[in-house]
Symmetry: C2
Subunit: 371 residues, 2 copies
């Protein structure tokens, strides 16, 4: 092979501080390299069941947890196709690029889609939610917890009762926070809570997961034109009957997920993991202050898994990213309309405070050089 | 972790003679375990481009080759959603379970879908194709080359001119033959030729690929309600502009694909690879005769990548499969309505004639014991 990924023999030697795909620990890569039996075998079913039960613990839910051969965007499309009837209205709360994409998925699937946005950098507050829901009758509400572009964390625990009181089903995209930030699915009565694994799970991409409520399945039974690939009913049926998927799943990623869930639940521990991410978020925000920079999100709604930082020093962001690459770290520019106006530091997955300090030290030097 | 996949430390130690997922060589598993940069990085784009160019050589085509985060079924759904207008008719040729599934995808996506089947075990002959196409006007024709359930190989080179002469776009599911059997996309003017990688590519599952013609893209531009996740136009646009995917792809599988394509094209060589599969198919059929068994497919249409064998000795198939597992090999029972009436031996991927001989020797002993 030609010399791709920097190091032909070893692959990329970069340490990723990205908001996904993130740095994958070597123990996970080794686990994923083990040979597998087929997806219709007993060993596979056992592994699938372990993953699904681990996800239930992670999400504090008794709802079934399903495995999708897709990115998180695939499950976002599944929500739209399975839960919204053609004559119903759905409300998409959006606080950034990925919220906008979900609304776009609604439109492109021919569903009557209404978007309630706010200025980028702000969150959906209970007041915003209340007002939007009072305007019309919506059968499904779709919302991000952690918007990966703006680094804003929507106060989902406060929003959930308001959304559910309206009588709507609630779909939550927790892509860049699931397994990093506590989210209690049953307590908030979330109908579908989804994520992909290349973010806080610290796995390579290629797999997405969600919890699904009985109410969501009952609704899907009434919705026509759900297609086959993302049909929730077929997925749940096969999962419950055999701990399998209707189509062929990404077995190495599921093996990795099983190993990671065991690590998260039984080695690090859920509460400790959530605390670690709080510390990572706080430390990044302190560093931002120390360097006379500003956070992009409004105060009180900053994400603990990805920090979006205003380019208040008018730095040459591509140059800064490139100089940090030379030190062995990757952070990323702002997303979409926020390119060069912001930059982003991902601190999710298995990153420890010590790792973050080391990277931030190098980044401080670079910023001082660029100022 | 609990003791899943037979060997906790090493994973499954079985040698798979399955029609997918198949045995993955250790060099590929090692390649996949290398750490990766993100899917928006230059090293990723370089890798993506290498994979796409390798696929073009493999398929003898100048059409762009796209990468999907899905199983092959996902691209089957993409064909239906992108190419068939709501008022048009599509013809699904079916010779088995996976042909039936494609028709089902048409129906479940609300498209006017017509199925032309034949008795299982038989192929679509030019006569069958001609007659079916003369009955009505179809805008898209969808067909399997290699039906994984019946082990029948449709004579796609003979069928293609007939289908194309009708004026229809042609989608070919080559899932269990691509990279094992020669298929010249440009010569046959195939609009979409698709497969997943856990069959003849000898990769773990989690990735699907296809070639796509300009005519298919032009058609997609006229089709409403294509959704977002499987939108061919967005996929092709990002691929051409940046050698990337619109959503996050399964990077380890793409790394494995790149390595495998280099092996297939530059080490084994395409013609030699196709010859090897011919020999594997022939040897299996000779073995079937030697053991007084019969092939399920009609003569002349037997697949060279998966042999579906009639249970003409009235063997206890589950017991036979289980006894062979004890010897370290997995073959599989018949699929769907063919369970216990047939069994299947997959001889795809990196299986060599010597490997096949060894397995067949053990299987002969078991059959003699069971008779």
């Amino acid at each position: 092979m030609t010399d791709i990924h920097f190091n032909k023999e070893k692959g990329s030697q970069l340490k990723l501080f990205t908001p996904g795909p993130v740095h994958v620990p070597e123990r996970v890569l080794k686990e994923m390299a083990k040979p597998n039996d087929t997806h219709r075998s007993k060993p596979y079913s056992e592994m699938h069941q372990m993953a699904a039960e681990g996800l239930q613990k992670l999400l504090y839910t008794n709802n079934e947890c399903l495995i999708f051969t897709s990115s998180a965007t695939g499950i976002m499309e599944a929500c739209v196709r399975n839960l919204i009837k053609d004559d119903e209205k759905a409300l998409f709360f959006s606080i950034g690029a990925f919220g906008d994409r979900w609304y776009e998925i609604g439109v492109r699937n021919g569903k009557i889609s209404v978007k309630q946005g706010v200025e980028w950098g702000k969150a959906i507050t209970p007041e915003v939610a209340q007002e939007a829901l009072s305007k019309d009758k919506y059968s499904v509400v779709l919302i991000q917890t952690n918007e990966t572009s703006t680094g804003v964390y929507n106060p989902i625990d406060e929003l959930a009762p308001i959304i559910k009181d309206s009588g709507a089903l609630m779909c939550v995209d927790a892509t860049s926070s699931m397994a990093g930030v506590k989210l209690e699915v049953d307590k908030s009565d979330i109908d579908i809570c989804l994520a992909s694994v290349q973010k806080c799970f610290a796995l390579p991409p290629g797999l997405a997961v969600c919890s699904v409520s009985d109410a969501a399945i009952e609704k899907a039974e009434q919705v026509k034109n759900r297609g086959l690939y993302f049909d929730l009913i077929a997925l749940k049926k096969r999962h419950v009957a055999k701990h399998q998927t209707p189509t062929t799943p990404p077995i190495p990623q599921i093996r990795g997920l099983t190993a990671q869930l065991e690590y998260i639940l039984n080695e690090e521990g859920l509460e400790k993991r959530f605390e670690r991410h709080e510390k990572l978020g706080k430390r990044t925000r302190t560093w931002v202050q120390e360097n006379n920079l500003e956070m992009f999100p409004e105060k009180g709604y900053e994400s603990n898994t990805v920090s979006t930082i205003k380019n208040s020093l008018d730095l040459d962001i591509p140059k800064m990213v490139s100089m940090l690459l030379d030190k062995g770290y990757r952070i990323v520019n702002g997303y979409g309309q926020l390119v060069n106006k912001t930059f982003r530091i991902g601190h999710m997955g298995e990153i420890q405070l010590k790792d973050l300090e080391e990277m931030l030290n190098d980044l401080t030097d670079i910023i001082n050089e660029l100022k």
